[in-house]
Symmetry: C2
Subunit: 81 residues, 2 copies
C-alpha cells in the first residue's frame, strides 16, 4: 500500500477568514511573533500498489475532481517518504 | 519571514467520517485503487525571523494550545524548504 499526501490551500489572492481567526487567537495567547496564518486541508490517500508515476497521476486527478475547488484552491501531491 | 507548516491529523484510532465520505465519493468517481482516505488540517504559519529551533518550538506550543485537540488529534511541525 502506498500513501500519497494531498495538501489543499486557498489561493494567495483569496481571503482566508479561518487563517485570520487563528492569527488573532495566536496573538491573544501571546504568540506575538506570528505574522500570518493560512489554513487548508491535508489528505492522506492510501492506494493499492506502489506510489509510482501512475499512482501520483491518479491522485492528482482525484484532487482536481474531488479534493480541491480549482476556482479558489490550489493543491500539491507528494508520496510519503 | 519564515513559514512553518503544521499538519494536524486525527489519531489513527479515531473514526474519520470525513475521510470515509471522500473514500466513497472517490469510488463513485471510478477511483477504485483508493483504499483509504484520512482528512486533516494544514496550517502555514508565518513568523518574524528565521525558522530556527526557537521558532519551531514556539509553533509547536501554538499547535498544542490552539491548532490541535490533543485528545483526538496529533500534529507535526516542519519548516518549509
Amino acid at each position: 500500500m502506498a500513501t500519497v499526501i494531498v495538501d489543499v490551500m486557498l489561493k494567495q489572492e483569496i481571503h482566508d477568514p479561518q487563517g485570520e481567526a487563528v492569527l488573532s487567537a495566536s496573538h491573544r495567547l501571546g504568540f506575538g511573533a506570528v505574522k500570518g496564518v493560512r489554513q487548508g486541508k491535508r489528505f492522506e490517500v492510501e492506494l493499492e500498489g506502489p506510489a509510482d508515476g501512475a499512482a501520483l497521476a491518479a491522485v492528482e486527478e482525484l484532487a482536481r475532481e474531488l479534493l480541491a475547488n480549482p476556482v479558489i484552491e490550489e493543491f500539491s501531491v507528494h508520496a510519503t517518504e
